[in-house]
């Protein structure tokens, strides 16, 4: 009887959240559209400058071609209508559909992110749990200091140091890119090649978040260990290992799910630096190129795709959280 009610609630919750995703995406579109349009000097000028023809007539023809001479609300409406159809416009610089450009690069970033997230969570939880086992011990202090160190390191610099040490001095791992240039690997060989290239940027990305997870896990475990129900578990005569696993760890880890969700947006947009240092062909480098080229449609497209991805990821983590913690009422 209670189970059915829960299932209906959950479905309704998902429906509501999907609706919210759409609404938020629309908001992102609107705000981004205006933000980008507010920029002094429009795309036509930039494009004209790049192509070498800076005369008025050419700039005006460019404007007409891209619809930049229409009133703003008209431009906005046309754009929103196009997005609804799945058409994110044409990239100014590359003369390709924005969606195609993004889709070509997106998987690379997602791959890197997935690797970094898994490493960060696994490593962070293990370290945090170890530190929490004996708070105040040398091991605990060591983990804490290490975590603080990784918080303070600039990611791009860490990447450069990694390249210096592992690629240049030790010549163990490749320096940049996602695959070895020129080599035409297929199948397993290709996977191995990509994996090799992924290690340095992936670890660089992961280390900061690992520090976060370690600290969070440690704090949570110490707090939970002090809770009354842990005392009850011991009073029942349960083996200490089971107390640690079923009672302490289980309750300490649920907030980490929410935390993973919060990091989603940081991960997708935050790979700019690491991708830049390692020349990893992903969304990060794409965004950087788009900013410098004033390629508005591409930028807008990146914002939209990112917003949708992050929203969906948040939805997944929220549902995961509600499964992990039965106290959460899916009413909002």
């Amino acid at each position: 009887m209670k189970h059915e009610k829960n299932r209906v609630n959950r479905l309704a919750y998902i429906a509501r959240r999907l609706l919210r995703t759409v609404l938020v995406t629309v908001a992102v579109v609107l705000v981004s559209f205006f933000l980008i349009r507010l920029a002094p000097g429009d795309a036509a000028t930039v494009m004209a400058g790049q192509s070498g023809y800076a005369d008025e007539a050419f700039i005006n023809s460019l404007r007409a071609e891209y619809g930049l001479d229409r009133p703003l609300p008209v431009q906005l409406w046309k754009y929103v209508a196009a997005v609804a159809r799945g058409d994110l416009g044409m990239s100014y610089e590359r003369r390709q559909p924005v969606l195609d450009v993004i889709v070509a690069r997106l998987p690379n970033t997602l791959l890197l992110d997935a690797f970094a997230l898994v490493v960060a969570m696994a490593g962070g939880i293990v370290l945090g749990a170890l530190a929490a086992r004996r708070p105040g011990s040398a091991g605990d202090a060591g983990v804490t200091v290490l975590a603080m160190l990784f918080y303070a390191v600039p990611q791009f610099w860490l990447g450069m140091m990694a390249v210096l040490v592992f690629s240049v001095w030790l010549a163990l791992l490749p320096q940049f890119g996602i695959e070895t240039m020129g080599a035409d690997h297929t199948g397993l060989a290709r996977i191995a090649d990509v994996a090799q290239h992924m290690i340095l940027p992936g670890m660089t990305l992961a280390l900061y978040y690992m520090a976060s997870y370690a600290r969070l896990t440690r704090t949570q475990m110490i707090e939970v260990a002090d809770q009354e129900f842990v005392k009850t578990a011991r009073a029942k005569g349960i083996a200490e290992r089971q107390v640690a696993r079923r009672h302490i760890l289980r309750n300490a880890l649920t907030p980490l799910i929410t935390y993973a969700g919060l990091q989603a947006s940081i991960l997708v947009g935050g790979t700019v630096l690491v991708e830049n240092v390692f020349s990893w062909p992903g969304i990060g480098t794409l965004a950087y190129e788009a900013v410098t080229a004033r390629d508005n449609p591409l930028l807008l497209g990146i914002f939209i795709v990112t917003a949708i991805l992050v929203s969906l990821f948040n939805l997944v983590t929220d549902i995961a959280y509600s499964i992990a913690d039965p106290r959460v009422e899916l009413g909002r």
């Binding site: 009354e228 009672h247 009413g331």
Partner: protein, 535 residues
């Protein structure tokens, strides 16, 4: 008599910087087989620490310095960790005070019970679940509850689950650390009944920790009184209750408020405060920007009416969820009622605009329940007490001068003005809160469970003070409480509430002696220690 448990010379140390070195000092206590022993004391007496020591569950900061705890012949304090594990839950079991906090929030009830069974016996999950079903049924719960989570149960149900868990392996000793303090009085009576029956059936011993002498008189065979870590007096319940030797014991027994001896009702005159048909409904909200839909509605107040005249104390008595606190808040507009009027000296507070309300509010003030959150921890006592007059334009110097007088009235000296709340005890903080309320010279004082969070001896003092203040300043007082004995002490008239409605109302003495409604009767019957103490 061969004792099941013998505590000999137990000393437990407190961490540095406390107000004393030992949490428990030189405690000797015997618990016989199938005997109920109560340890009674106020907060900080060391009673809970003693109980935890017998289970080996002292927090890391507290260390057993010396002594022995003999159980079934062996000294528990010298046994290995594995021996402890085998003892806990199986030979000695414990029930804690706050059942919400004491149950794992993400584990279903059934699993929490089977977990314990399977930790001590080689039983499969299905078999253990069957046993669990039998156990909870005997506690008066439906077996379907096994699939539920703690937050879906009521406080009373959770405590029954805790007791079911504790009894699951038929321990020789059950330790109960204030198991009913967080519960309503009717629920409390049921839980005590449950424990009594379980004890009789299984012939097990019970070590029961409490601060309430009423509970002691109802339940215990023998009792030990603790104060500041030491046992002040012990003996059979009859001995200690009828012929208390120690002064402290006498003070504790005397401090328990009695149901009889309430003040006589006053002659009827024109009321100062008239509440008519007050209703309030709580809606769970949800959705995007407040739109969407509303969830369950909850009727907190259902057409409540009352009158209050000058110089009178009206008690509002009810269990949690009865609406008594909501009533207080609606009267002073800390919450807005949905319907009804609150006539104060002619004007209707319920419908007033903000400016008018501010002027009227001077004349109704409130004393709050929680001494720890009712004073701003970052303000000095001087700032706190003079806040009201200063907000209405009075100069700081004049306010401070008046504050000194007011503090004297509530029994505090001038030096407290420059100190901070955390330097004071619960009772002292309530006095400060009272002084704050009185500084605006109100006509009506609403006291929302002002003594519920205080020790019983301090309770008596604060009640005295409230009564004195009412007489001296000729106030009308609305006194909210869940404890009928407290209401009996200072209320002329009393009103019983349940589920947002007024059940009955009348002069205190008459109502308690001969209640008209069955609910009031049940409330009165549930008060612990009625027979023994109301002599």
């Amino acid at each position: 008599m061969n004792a099941l448990v013998r505590i000999e010379g137990l000393n437990v140390a407190l961490p540095q910087g406390g107000d004393r070195t030992l949490a428990v000092a030189d405690v000797n206590l015997d618990i016989g087989p199938s005997e109920i022993v109560c340890i009674v004391g106020e907060s900080g007496s060391g009673k809970s620490v003693t109980a935890h020591a017998v289970m080996g569950l002292l927090p890391r900061a507290l260390k057993t310095v010396s002594g022995r705890i003999l159980f079934e012949g062996r000294d528990l304090l010298t046994q290995s960790a594995e021996d402890w594990r085998r003892t806990r839950g199986a030979r000695i079991a414990m029930v804690f005070q706050d059942p919400m906090a004491a149950l794992n929030p993400v584990m279903a009830i059934g699993r929490q019970i089977t977990e314990q069974i399977r930790a001590h016996r080689a039983v499969g999950e299905a078999a253990a679940m069957n046993e669990a079903a039998v156990l909870v049924a005997r506690m008066g719960l439906e077996p379907g509850l096994l699939h539920a989570y703690p937050h879906q149960l009521s406080g009373g149900q959770r405590q029954r689950v805790m007791i079911a868990m504790a009894l699951s392996l038929s321990p020789r000793l059950l330790i109960a650390d204030e198991p009913t303090t967080a519960l309503d009085v009717t629920t409390q009576a049921q839980i005590l009944e449950l424990i009594r029956n379980a004890q009789r059936e299984r012939q097990m011993s019970v070590l029961f920790i409490t601060h309430d002498f009423g509970v002691v008189s109802d339940l215990a065979d023998r009792v030990a009184v603790m104060r500041e870590g030491r046992i002040v007096e012990s003996g059979t319940t009859r001995e200690v209750l009828d012929r208390p030797q120690a002064g402290y014991t006498r003070a504790l027994i005397a401090a328990v408020p009695r149901l009889s001896g309430s003040p006589a009702p006053l002659a009827r005159e024109k009321p100062l405060l008239e509440v008519a048909g007050l209703s309030k409904r709580y809606r769970g909200s949800g959705g995007f920007l407040g739109l969407w839909y509303s969830r369950r509605e909850h009727l907190a107040l259902d057409r409540v009416s009352l009158t209050l005249q000058r110089g009178e104390t009206l008690g509002v008595v009810g269990e949690s969820g009865s609406g008594k606190s909501t009533l207080a808040r609606c009267i002073i507009r800390l919450a807005d009622p949905d319907a009804g009027e609150v006539l104060f000296d002619g004007a209707d507070l319920a419908g007033m605009g903000r400016r008018e309300l501010r002027a009227q509010r001077r004349r109704i003030q409130m004393v709050f329940q929680d001494p720890f959150s009712s004073l701003n921890p970052r303000h000095t006592v001087g700032e706190i007490v003079t806040a009201g007059p200063r907000a209405h334009g009075e100069g700081t110097k004049i306010s401070l001068a008046r504050a000194v007088e007011m503090l004297k009235l509530v029994g505090l000296e001038e030096a407290v003005l420059s100190r901070y709340p955390h330097e004071f005890s619960g009772g002292q903080r309530q006095r400060i809160g009272l002084a704050r309320a009185l500084m605006l010279k109100p006509d009506v004082l609403i006291a929302d469970e002002p003594v519920s969070a205080l020790d019983v001896t301090v309770q008596a003092q604060v009640l005295e003070l409230l009564d004195k203040v009412r007489r001296q300043m000729n106030l009308a007082m609305l006194f909210i409480t869940h404890d009928m004995r407290v209401a009996a002490r200072i209320c002329h008239r009393v009103m019983v509430m349940r589920h947002g409605q007024v059940v009955e109302e009348g002069p205190t003495g008459a109502l308690f002696a001969a209640p008209k409604s069955e609910y009031t009767g049940r409330l009165l019957a549930a008060i612990p220690g009625r027979q023994r103490l109301e002599a």
